[in-house]
Point group: C3
Chain length 139, copies 3
């Protein structure tokens, strides 16, 4: 069994954003030499998500507005978590809706995807360095 | 290490539905010959889900109504994604709540489930052929 | 390839609670002897979650209130599922928001976590014995 590990680092200049990280995950997969197995891709921070959906800017704006309705950033005192001095209570909730991780099948050395599947990093509390873990196992 | 891959195809006649796919996943597991390992089951489309919950028709109607409240199908112009000519903006949101994938333990050649766990395909934009990937690794 | 399986049992005295189970998962990992691989941690019940987030009591109260807004426990007749004689319709919905499972990378014999990641059992219909499955594969 082979395993391969890599961290992808980001410094998103805005509080929230969605970033297509499929090309970086494909580079990890090539580096791993794994032809058959599984790739785990997870946010290492608890105010960010990794998820799979469509690379369409209108959809991303829909997600942004929808998440803001489900878990508004303000007023800050809406969240007890913000009593700790943080202002990211909403980000911990948004991340649960969008998810922490994806597991992707690897077949014949490629990410085994349907026609529109792309991997995104979802940032809900940016403006600082944060990272994603890629762990590949297989042979 | 053994791996096994199979696609399950569906053509749901309605826009939305929940389908118990546990028997098909069990067939894949028997075909794989894997006794100890992991099974990944994921929607290959971004307007559908794979999730684990109860096979109870009242619950499924509760899910349907709840998701429709969280992300209504209409009015279509509620979603920027629909400006692309699609009418499935809501389906991309519903899928995030219900999830893309499940990972299931395989123990002694069986899906290692609690008493009520069943695997479902959740369709949110049906009336066309779509598929689920089953990828099994182990030995 | 090595595999290791363990059930963690809980009997939460209240209907809802969040419990940090990271120490128990770390014990499983040590028992497994796996140095490189993946750990699957999943609720074996469909009214409970396993998720990764922050061990901060204010955040947990935010989750509690937020989930109660998204899927209120009462009135019980809000949910068709409760017509079966159950009173846990809401719990099946809350569990979908928080998720069934996490998959965690294992690197150099440790859970490969970012600075604040902790694994939680989320109970939404407690006051009885329920369990979580830990399945570890790797070498």
């Amino acid at each position: 069994m082979r395993t391969h590990r890599k961290e992808l680092w980001f410094n998103i200049p805005t509080r929230r954003a969605f970033l297509n990280i499929t090309p970086q995950v494909e580079v990890c997969l090539r580096e791993s030499g794994v032809k058959e197995g599984l790739a785990l891709v997870n946010a290492m921070h608890i105010t960010a998500s990794v998820f799979i959906n469509d690379d369409e800017s209108g959809l991303h704006r829909d997600y942004e507005e929808w998440l803001e309705r489900l878990a508004p950033h303000e007023p800050l005192d809406r969240y007890r978590h913000n009593l700790t001095g943080e202002d990211n209570g909403d980000a911990h909730l948004k991340r649960q809706v969008m998810g922490r991780e994806v597991v992707v099948a690897i077949t014949e050395g490629r990410l085994d995807f349907g026609p529109w599947e792309q991997i995104f990093y979802g940032e809900f509390d940016g403006r600082r360095k944060k990272r994603v873990l890629v762990k590949i196992i297989g042979e």
